[in-house]
């Protein structure tokens, strides 16, 4: 007679626990399901480039290659244009010199930044208000977004609380607002899904151009708090950051 395998016996008994009439699903769950789309903002189907909300290495590599190709193409085009303007002689005092010296290649190159003029007033970005942002986080804000500079040379600070309360300080003018708690939660989910708390989000800095905003976003989710800063007009920052800025612009009703 085959001895009883004790593991089989354990498995049989475990299986027996789960047999029998399953408890019916409480009506509250079904009602909750049907109410979900009304209570929470309809999710937006993302484009294929956004994938599962995170940038994978192949996508980053492909994006990098495309960017490099564009820059190389632009440089090659400029060099070719300069070569043609100088009559193809290498630009060493040829007969075409009068036409080219009047507007030297260096001055007309699209890659050369224009010097500041009175028509394009620059903006000296005010320092980021990190102490104020920290205070807001301390007071319970789960999202704090600061942006300054840009064409309007703004100095803005926004914060959202889990209950949907929002506060903002636009150029020294404080204002309180209210969105839905679910709206804040949804944006929190979107930011987290974009990879905010992963190493895909990191702070970068370069001197901002006169029309470039400088951003700083602080998010608190559970026990995690992370601040990431970025400046517009460069390719050094995480691409997903701009998607997060889009979510925040929608949340706080800010024109980007």
């Amino acid at each position: 007679m085959r001895p009883v395998d004790f593991d089989e016996e354990v498995e049989r008994r475990l299986r027996a626990i789960g047999t029998g009439a399953a408890p019916p699903v409480p009506g509250a769950i079904t009602r909750y399901l049907h109410q979900l789309p009304e209570d929470h903002p309809a999710p937006v189907r993302q484009g294929p480039w956004q994938g599962a909300g995170r940038l994978s290495f192949p996508r980053l590599a492909l994006g990098g290659l495309v960017a490099v190709a564009i820059v190389v193409g632009a440089v090659a085009g400029t060099v070719l244009m300069q070569y043609r303007q100088s009559g193809g002689s290498g630009g060493s005092g040829s007969s075409a010199a009068p036409a080219t010296t009047a507007a030297s290649p260096a001055a007309t190159s699209p890659l050369t930044p224009e010097p500041p003029s009175s028509e394009t007033p620059g903006c000296t970005n005010p320092p980021m208000r990190s102490a104020a942002a920290a205070e807001l986080v301390k007071s319970g804000a789960v999202i704090v977004w600061e942006r300054n500079g840009g064409p309007g040379c703004v100095d803005e600070l926004y914060a959202a609380y889990p209950d949907g309360r929002t506060v903002s300080d636009r150029d020294g003018v404080p204002q309180n607002g209210q969105v839905t708690s679910a709206g804040v939660q949804a944006v929190m989910g979107q930011i987290t899904d974009a990879g905010f708390f992963t190493d895909l989000f990191f702070t970068t800095y370069h001197p901002p151009c006169s029309a470039c905003h400088q951003h700083s976003v602080t998010v608190t989710y559970g026990s995690q708090t992370k601040t990431v800063g970025i400046v517009e007009g460069g390719t050094d920052g995480p691409a997903q950051y701009w998607i997060v800025i889009g979510y925040l612009s929608d949340l706080f009703g800010v024109a980007s």
Partner: protein
């Protein structure tokens, strides 16, 4: 066109909410049952199922292959339950005495099912990861491959977790049997 292109990106006549409800509703009984056996409490199972529904709804746009809704939703339920089990660490829930529950007519269906066999009680002593494979295997009746898919784990890891879980239960049962026979 197969897979993501045909399922995820092709236009459908369904509103997103209608499509979501159409897929989620039939999955509710299994989800609630799984949460109930894992959390051993029908009220908490209800909360966990609702939390999983919310997460699923918010993550709905990222689900490319609508055909894999079931395993995807199961994974969300498992993760929600796992977080709740981990959060319980150090907290000992006090349940009403079963006799009192019976008198009050409030017997919890999951607790009473698990209390039918000493093994049901012992499962709660396993770690969350082992409890999850036991629940998926014996109370959700999934194959090892299906469990691996839902937990996003290699098949070998699932087998190993299940083996050690059953072994631990057997050892504990042996110990209790010996103590009782003294």
């Amino acid at each position: 066109v197969e897979g993501a292109l045909s399922v995820g990106l092709a236009p459908t006549n369904d509103e997103p909410s209608a499509a979501f409800i159409r897929l989620a509703e039939p999955a509710l009984p299994d989800a609630y049952r799984l949460a109930g056996f894992l959390l051993r409490d029908s009220w908490e199972a209800q909360d966990a199922t609702q939390e999983a529904l919310l997460k699923a709804w918010l993550g709905w746009p990222r689900l490319r292959d609508r055909g894999s809704f079931g395993p995807w939703f199961d994974r969300i339920v498992v993760n929600v339950c796992k977080n709740r089990l981990r959060a319980r660490k150090g907290i000992r829930p006090l349940h009403l005495d079963e006799q009192m529950e019976n008198e009050a007519g409030t017997t919890d269906p999951f607790r009473s099912a698990l209390a039918r066999d000493e093994l049901g009680r012992l499962v709660a002593k396993l770690g969350p990861d082992q409890q999850i494979v036991v629940a998926l295997r014996f109370w959700r009746d999934l194959s090892l491959d299906e469990i691996a898919e839902r937990l996003d784990l290699p098949l070998g890891t699932v087998k190993s977790r299940l083996h050690y879980a059953v072994h631990a239960l057997r050892v504990e049962l042996d110990r209790q049997t010996k103590e009782a026979s003294r």
